[in-house]
């Protein structure tokens, strides 16, 4: 709190509305050194600073002063108020705040009215808060009669909310409260500091400068720069206030680190057993097992360390076409070619089956992180978001045919690949299309895309022109195109633990690992764990 309590009558205080209005402002500073305030003609109301002239000098100085006090530099704060001649807040306000903290309710109400707030509603609301505090403190101190008097005379005068009055009345009437709870527990008495916070929210910011305003403005600027940085793919601690944040392309993986041809990477296991081409592979939540799906055949669960098949899931009749783990790791879900979806326990016992147009033969299957929603393509241009607990159905309808989709790590967004070579980003919560990405090529195959990079701020996709495409998620700008493969790139997977590593699989029968042009930062646990889709052939 800046300034010192002032003895002079309120009339001589500047009217706070003058912060926005009149030409010069009075200011008396009663500091012990007795320095006179600087001549104020130089610091008129309208004086602005900064190159664009948007910032008003007086506002700027006040938020700096407030920041100094928040940081604990009381002397500096006071000195700034003196030297600039711009007080953080008027003495009336200082008196008001002190009265609140002292619990001097009647005085504080009087001071409140002297502040000169134009809006009657605010005065009434603030008065009500103060009187409520008085009421509760009296009750707490067991001064029930006084509390009742306050309620009857003062609070009802100011209060517009009759339900609140009734609630307050019930606090007196039932001393033991409901269910044996004491009054205090029913409606807890705020601390006076908390009351001050609440009052600060009500009172206009130019009268009482909000807490941490300067810090908030700087944060907004930094976050804005980070969001706007097209190539930003590094940790937040690398952002500095000293200069505008601007990453170069150096943080995007663009160099092939490793190419796996048959025999390139050392093969850990060959998982044999499927009779039909394997369309997808899915890691278990604990990373120790793998689920694979043979097209229109069966789903198999494998132990990754031994390479053994632990369980086969199939049905008499319809073939399975997709597979997914429930996030708890105890159940398997699978789409079938009769348009239904089934759920099995790990040991192969079928526990649930949802029929009637839940999925298509060519559809992917995803489960949201809460384990409740199943996502699949139910019609050629419609995605179904099915809540398996409530049977509630929501739909995303596109204008073009959907070929594949990918769920974001936080389960809030869906990336949809369309037949017409566009990738659409949807917000699942409010079912809104938020972004579109174009440029890659698709004519015949299922081409997959994924989220990736630091904070999943990038979108990567394969393409039939043999290149990997990377877009900046927020701006939709194409950030990089990576040549290297000699066949259509069918799918990509961005390492969820290492934002500088990307893997791509291609018709040239290789998998490429992409990394930074100059390797610098090390990431621990840089193995990936997620959904991978292979296209035909043996699973390696």
């Amino acid at each position: 709190m800046g300034g010192v309590e002032d003895e002079e009558p309120a009339l001589k205080r500047m009217r706070l509305s003058s912060y926005n209005g009149s030409s010069s402002v009075e200011c008396t500073v009663g500091s012990s050194s007795g320095l006179m305030a600087r001549p104020l003609s130089a610091e008129g109301e309208d004086e602005v600073i900064g190159s664009t002239g948007i910032i008003k000098r007086r506002e700027f100085v006040r938020i700096i002063t407030k920041a100094l006090y928040s940081l604990g530099y009381k002397k500096s704060g006071e000195h700034l108020e003196e030297e600039s001649g711009i007080p953080l807040q008027s003495s009336v306000v200082n008196v008001f705040m002190q009265k609140i903290l002292d619990g001097d309710w009647d005085e504080s109400l009087a001071t409140l009215n002297k502040i000169g707030l134009h809006d009657e509603g605010i005065v009434r609301a603030a008065s009500f808060l103060i009187l409520e505090q008085k009421f509760f403190e009296l009750l707490d101190g067991d001064k029930v009669m006084d509390a009742l008097k306050t309620l009857r005379t003062e609070i009802t005068q100011h209060c517009v909310d009759s339900t609140r009055i009734r609630e307050l009345t019930s606090c007196i009437v039932s001393p033991s409260g409901l269910n044996g709870l004491s009054r205090r527990e029913l409606v807890r008495v705020r601390t006076r500091l908390k009351l001050l916070e609440e009052l600060q929210k009500l009172i206009p910011p130019n009268v009482m400068v909000p807490e941490k305003r300067l810090e908030r403005l700087v944060e907004i600027a930094l976050i804005f720069q980070r969001e706007a940085c097209m190539f930003h793919n590094s940790l937040d601690k690398e952002i500095s206030v000293y200069s505008d944040h601007h990453c170069g392309k150096t943080q995007i993986p663009s160099r092939t680190l490793q190419v796996d041809t048959n025999g390139g990477l050392s093969i850990k296991h060959k998982l044999c057993g499927h009779q039909k081409p394997v369309s997808s592979a899915s890691w278990s939540p604990n990373g120790q097992e793998l689920l694979t799906c043979g097209v229109e055949e069966a789903v198999r669960r494998w132990d990754v360390s031994t390479g053994k098949c632990l369980q086969v899931y199939e049905k008499n009749g319809p073939g399975l076409i997709s597979c997914a783990w429930l996030p708890c790791g105890n159940y398997i879900l699978s789409g079938l070619n009769d348009k239904s979806i089934c759920m099995w326990e790990l040991d192969g016992k079928e526990v649930e089956s949802w029929k009637e147009e839940k999925t298509l033969k060519i559809s992917d299957l995803e489960i949201t992180g809460d384990g409740e929603h199943i996502i699949s393509i139910c019609k050629e241009n419609v995605i179904l978001l099915f809540n398996k607990e409530t049977n509630d159905e929501r739909f995303i309808e596109e204008d073009e045919i959907i070929t594949s989709f990918c769920l974001s790590k936080d389960s809030r967004f869906l990336l949809i690949n369309l037949l017409n070579q566009e990738i659409h980003l949807w917000n699942i919560g409010d079912l809104q299309l938020v972004r579109k990405y174009k440029s890659h090529k698709r004519a015949r195959f299922v081409i997959r895309s994924c989220f990736g990079g630091f904070r999943q701020s990038f979108i990567a996709s394969g393409s039939e022109d043999s290149q990997v495409y990377i877009w900046h998620r927020n701006s939709e700008d194409l950030v990089d195109v990576l040549p290297g493969h000699s066949g259509a790139v069918n799918c990509v997977s961005w390492n969820p633990a290492n934002p500088h590593m990307l893997a791509s699989a291609s018709d040239d029968r290789t998998i490429r690992i992409w990394g930074l042009k100059c390797l610098n930062v090390k990431y621990p646990n840089a193995y990936s764990n997620g959904n991978h889709h292979s296209n035909g052939g043996e699973l390696r």
Binding site: I362, E380, V446, I447, D507
Partner: protein, 130 residues
């Protein structure tokens, strides 16, 4: 090869003669009286699982049209063409529709059509009388 994206049709289906990829439905036939170099051709409202070639201007029996050849996504063989723009008013109804050469597809009953050397038709297109 990558995983082909193929849409499965339901009903009476015309499929690619070579790889059996679903191409069109019987109910989408607009006209059966089209011609191509290989004989009969049908005009369909909608054809699926085909990729488009380059668009070009072609002088057809009924006038100048902007067309693009269509290829089966399964095996890549050419199966017909798609009308992008028709330059004469009377031919506008063809825009957006596609022609499948009867020789290149298997009918809903699995039947095929063989080129009849006698019925040599010069030029493609037709169906002026509707």
């Amino acid at each position: 090869m990558g995983r082909l994206f193929v849409i499965n049709l339901e009903g009476k289906i015309y499929t690619c003669k070579y790889c059996r990829t679903h191409l069109a439905l019987y109910e989408d036939i607009v006209s059966k009286t089209f011609h191509c170099r290989h004989g009969k051709a049908y005009l369909f409202n909608k054809v699926m699982n085909v990729s488009l070639g380059e668009t070009e201007e072609r002088l057809m029996m009924t006038g100048l049209h902007t067309v693009a050849d269509i290829f089966c996504v399964g095996c890549g063989s050419i199966v017909g063409w798609k009308y992008e723009t028709a330059h004469e008013k009377g031919q506008k109804y063809k825009e957006g529709k596609s022609v499948l050469e009867r020789y290149k597809v298997s009918g809903p009953d699995g039947s095929n059509y063989w080129i009849n050397n006698e019925a040599h038709v010069s030029g493609s297109d037709a169906d002026d009388q509707q």
